[in-house]
Symmetry: C2
């Protein structure tokens, strides 16, 4: 069967995360993967066994995506743009398929990833902007942005990020490489926008990194506390996990 | 009792409009006015009779506001910023009080208005951007923006807008004065942003005006059909009402 790769955007607000959730074989929560599975199987006229959509990244409840990547095998040969339109016509309005492309049979959305980029939006108003309540992490304590900018590069490079993994993390190693960090202050919009790029990230890693950065911004942690946290490899020390609503899976790149 | 004026923003998505709805004296739907009433009375320690919050504009279900104006009488004298903070601490996250100011006893949010400004955001992508589904009117047919720009000034001036009033309109006269119209194309965001300013608007007037403009944009109506519609004064002729989700009550100004 031809294999297809799709780039998918979604507003994570009304989903219990990306990953399909079942109980006794029955879907038990609304998930992005569950919706994609339904629509792909509907377009394929419900083949047996059903088609399974495989995603690159298991985003959590409330986390958004501009560029989630999925792959699936499909019994028919459909032109890219018609495929995109067909899926979007059937999908609920909080999921958008941005593109569909035919890929080789050995393409795998999760295993072939080369780099992932995430964005985290922090809203700094004293009370939440009603239009941003689902789309930013709201943090109303005073932040010293210069301190945060000094701290941020401490994440760069290959490190054991054990201190930055949530307790649900089950990967064999906690060593990851971060290749890009960026902090932009959007004063007019009362927002700070963070960008993180790396080869892969641990469970909740970005939200924990943002939490540490925010505590550096308030002065609760010393500027170079990230270096100490990397050294101690103790997941009890980075306690504050920034809210899911500010996190966006922005882009995933692949090895050729 | 001291009278206060408040400027209020809200995300209209989860409200059945601004205006309080009751059935047999019991609140029957979630409304902005209902939420404001609750919180103001809570801050005033539930006086009898209860305080009533009066709004300038009865926005519909799904319509948003950056600058709704309300007034109410309150038994205590509270400094502006403390009042704002107190209300915001109690309000749900889809309503934000932007400011509270003490006003004279004869200030009335609805009767003293001088001008109202509305914004309408049109999303022109072929499928809805998941992040804009509640915040724009989605219109995927091809639009000739130059035609729309030619047509737009036909709304300017004092006219009988009977053709642009929804059937629920109950005002004595349908004559209104429009003082400003504007159309901005935001190509990168695939959006058209319309601005309308006038002394007052009829029920659903802006959404019907946007509907006519969109039909001019697609070529379904002649460029200067607005002039004809104003002349015929027939509410059956402007059929398409643009979705509530794109409409924002932006600002209300008052006579001194």
């Amino acid at each position: 069967m031809p294999r297809y790769k799709a780039i998918v955007a979604y507003d994570g607000t009304d989903f219990f995360g990306f990953q399909l959730q079942t109980k006794n074989g029955v879907e038990s929560a609304r998930t992005v993967q569950g919706e994609l599975n339904k629509v792909v199987n509907q377009m394929a006229k419900k083949p047996q066994p059903p088609i399974k959509v495989v995603g690159a990244s298991r985003t959590d409840t409330g986390v958004h995506a501009f560029g989630q990547v999925v792959h699936f095998d499909f019994p028919y040969d459909i032109a890219s743009d018609n495929f995109r339109k067909g899926l979007n016509t059937l999908l609920p309005r909080d999921i958008l398929v941005k593109s569909v492309t035919r890929v080789s049979d050995d393409f795998h959305a999760r295993f072939n990833t080369h780099a992932k980029r995430y964005i985290y939006r922090i809203s700094t108003l004293d009370y939440t902007d009603p239009f941003k309540r689902h789309y930013t992490g709201h943090f109303h304590w005073h932040l010293d942005v210069e301190r945060m900018k000094l701290a941020l590069p401490d994440f760069l490079g290959e490190h054991d990020f054990a201190s930055f993994a949530a307790s649900g993390n089950e990967t064999a190693t906690t060593v990851r490489r971060i290749t890009r960090v960026e902090l932009t202050e959007k004063a007019e919009e009362h927002e700070l926008v963070l960008v993180f790029e790396g080869n892969a990230f641990l469970y909740n890693q970005i939200r924990i990194m943002v939490g540490v950065l925010l505590e550096i911004g308030t002065g609760r942690r010393p500027v170079h506390d990230i270096q100490r946290l990397i050294a101690v490899k103790d997941r009890e020390q980075a306690r504050f996990t920034a809210p899911a609503s500010g996190l966006y899976l922005d882009e995933i790149s692949y090895n050729d």
